[in-house]
């Protein structure tokens, strides 16, 4: 626990006061009840800067208990500096166990990735969300986007996707590809790559999203239909790594990091998910998420 020397009192368990934790849990329940709907919440200031995972922390700290095992990743890596800092903070205020092993974790807080390893119904994944509003790039005012969601008025969004196709021959959205949740709300999956988007669909685990700065919570409950926005004739597709291979493992059915070497010309590829990569190297048994896109790539390999 952090000691406050002047008044000699310590901060509450899991840092946030119980009243606010209760509020966050209630809002999370609402979010689970209305998949994809953004629930406004108080979002108190944290000793971590806005935009650095405060929303994720609110969720994690509100749901964590002493028996939980926490995994904290950033860009797929357990060792990323900000992940280390956030992991330390949660550990310091809750004394929870921490792990790098995806299978061991009960709560996984993440920034910009879903683990390659399949998650179970005993696990919760918490996303740090910079911009919860998928419609923000087509409508700048919150006042109006709330109305658009209420009325399922998504014409502007569809039009933008279509215009991108006309201009560039593809829907150029990279990370944070908009999805339709439960056939009702368009939702931002947070800036995860397209590779991860299909893994939101019909999952075993619970996905919770916290956007601290914008003060919104939302959720994708287990076994919920999540579809990337696509047209009948122009389909969503994941990133293509068919022509490259992981330098350490030779594997390529995973999201890859591209690393330029010091000569500035040659580049090497590595599996991005650090724990998944470790397990591949150690030749441990690991069950990957399965979805139709991954299946197609695997079929093509055989």
């Amino acid at each position: 626990m952090i000691e406050n020397k002047k008044f000699n009192t310590s901060y509450n368990y899991a840092f946030i006061d119980e009243t606010t934790k209760k509020e966050i849990r209630r809002k999370l329940l609402k979010a689970v009840c209305i998949p994809g709907y953004q629930v406004p919440y108080s979002s108190p200031e944290m000793p971590i800067a806005r935009g650095w995972g405060t929303g994720g922390l609110h969720v994690t700290l509100a749901i964590i208990g002493q028996s939980d095992v926490l995994k904290m990743i950033d860009q797929g890596s357990d060792a990323s500096v900000n992940a280390c800092n956030l992991r330390d903070f949660v550990h310091m205020t809750t004394d929870c166990a921490t792990t790098f092993d995806t299978r061991e974790a009960t709560i996984i807080q993440t920034r910009h990735r879903i683990t390659e390893e399949k998650l179970s119904d005993k696990q919760i994944m918490v996303f740090q969300v910079p911009q919860p509003e998928p419609l923000r790039r087509v409508e700048r005012y919150e006042y109006k986007t709330r109305q658009m969601h209420a009325e399922s008025d998504y014409a502007k969004m569809w039009l933008t996707l279509y215009e991108a196709y006309v201009k560039w021959g593809d829907v150029m959205q990279g990370a944070g590809y908009p999805v339709m949740v439960n056939g009702r709300y368009i939702m931002s999956p947070s800036p995860i790559p397209r590779w991860d988007v299909p893994n939101l669909n019909n999952s075993e685990c619970l996905y919770l999203f916290g956007a601290g700065r914008e003060k919104r919570l939302y959720a994708v409950p287990p076994h919920t239909k999540v579809e990337p926005l696509e047209f009948e004739d122009v389909k969503f597709h994941v990133e293509d790594f068919s022509n490259v291979k992981c330098e350490s493992t030779g594997y390529n059915v995973a999201y890859m990091d591209e690393m330029y070497q010091d000569d500035g010309v040659t580049k090497k590829f590595y599996v991005n998910d650090s724990n998944f990569l470790d397990k591949l190297i150690e030749k441990e048994e690991v069950v990957q998420h399965s979805n139709k896109y991954i299946k197609k790539i695997k079929d093509a390999l055989q």
């Binding site: 840092f15 060792a79 500096v81 910079p130 919150e142 150029m172 800036p191």
Partner: protein, 379 residues
């Protein structure tokens, strides 16, 4: 793998933390005392308390020391601390009419009730760098204080009292616009719930009072300079101490202390309202912790604009102003750009490469131009 190197993150953080502490202390100078910061950096403290949304001069001084004088970072520390404190009471409405005046001026009238009181201000001093401050000694400070004390007429001190406000003059004459009928008087607490738009005036006032001083100034200046409704006239700007009271559980009023605030009432001309065709004056209101006159003035300009200005001006748009002047949030999000984004970037890269492949011919032309340029640069 640069700063996401395998398993090295925790060590790197610990080292960086130690190094920044080294930078704070490396010159082995006398440690700053909290009391020194509190008394000699009065205006920085006021800014930190205002943006940090917690009236606690001692904590603000501590934060300033910890953050090597970065006002916004200090405000952030104060806010984070504030969020851990339980809110036990809401104070009764403070009355600036009973303010113990330290300074009050009006630019609307030559004379105002109680007169113009300049008080502590550098407004009419030349901003020349003062070399005598370079080697200031405790003896000189003593000397100054002794001389200053000698000039005070103790018998006159009792005369200092509370004063009526300038806007009362306009009110009495019926020139001040009454509150709009559509005026939303709901009182929200922006620290306890997310705001929705259009938000009531209480939200505007709270958020502007917590906003970043420079951010408010940029928008208020844009409003005065041409992207707004021209400039108003300061009805009254006052700085002083006001009493804070709470009502306890038994319904008794309790005085819990006093805080220093700056209040600005900006008079603007409003020609007509929807409800009436008679021209009126209207007031824009600003109230901030401590002495931060620029912020109070800017707040009053923006508050008026949000209530009745033309919506096409950014400074008159409630959502635009309130979201983007929130300094602690803006700073955090700006700095988050320093976090690694290579997963996100890879996804975009993948798209762009595919698009380039689809337009092979055009790409080859472009590459030719680049190569040509590179050749010319070499020669």
């Amino acid at each position: 793998m640069a700063y996401v190197s395998v398993k090295g993150g925790a060590d790197a953080i610990a080292n960086a933390k130690e190094l920044v502490e080294f930078y704070r202390l490396r010159k082995r100078t006398q440690p700053l005392e909290i009391k020194q910061i509190q008394s000699q950096f009065r205006l920085a403290i006021d800014k930190v308390m205002g943006e940090g949304s917690l009236y606690a001069p001692e904590y603000a001084a501590l934060a300033l020391k910890q953050m090597e004088g970065d006002v916004l970072e200090s405000a952030f520390v104060l806010r984070a601390y504030r969020a851990t404190l339980q809110r036990r009471y809401y104070s009764d409405i403070i009355s600036t009419r009973e303010m113990f005046i330290l300074r009050k001026i009006s630019s609307s009238f030559r004379e105002i009730p109680g007169g113009q009181v300049l008080g502590p201000t550098r407004d009419y001093t030349q901003r020349l760098i003062d070399s005598t401050k370079y080697n200031e000694s405790p003896e000189e400070i003593d000397q100054f204080l002794k001389e200053f004390d000698g000039k005070i007429d103790r018998e006159k001190l009792v005369d200092v009292n509370t004063y009526n406000k300038v806007i009362d003059l306009l009110k009495a004459e019926g020139l001040l616009m009454p509150a709009e009928k559509s005026y939303d008087k709901t009182v929200k607490d922006v620290t306890l719930e997310a705001i929705k738009f259009p938000a009531p005036r209480s939200v505007t006032l709270q958020m502007l009072a917590r906003a970043e001083s420079g951010g408010l100034m940029a928008l208020a200046y844009s409003s005065m300079r041409g992207f707004g409704d021209g400039h108003g006239t300061i009805g009254e700007l006052r700085y002083g101490a006001v009493k804070v009271r709470i009502t306890d559980t038994k319904g008794r009023k309790r005085y819990i202390g006093s805080i220093n605030v700056t209040e600005c009432e900006m008079i603007t001309k409003i020609n007509t309202t929807k409800e009436s065709k008679i021209p009126y004056f209207a007031i824009g209101y600003g109230l901030v912790f401590g002495q931060n006159e620029t912020k109070a003035i800017c707040m009053s300009i923006l508050e008026r604009g949000i209530r009745s200005g033309k919506k096409e001006n950014p400074s008159n748009n409630q959502e635009f102003v309130l979201y983007h002047t929130e300094g602690v949030e803006a700073m955090g999000f700006t700095n988050h750009l320093k976090l690694p984004h290579y997963v996100t970037f890879q996804s975009g890269l993948n798209n762009v490469r595919e698009s380039v492949k689809r337009n092979q011919e055009e790409t080859e032309d472009k590459m030719k131009v680049y190569k040509e340029l590179a050749k010319q640069q070499q020669q």
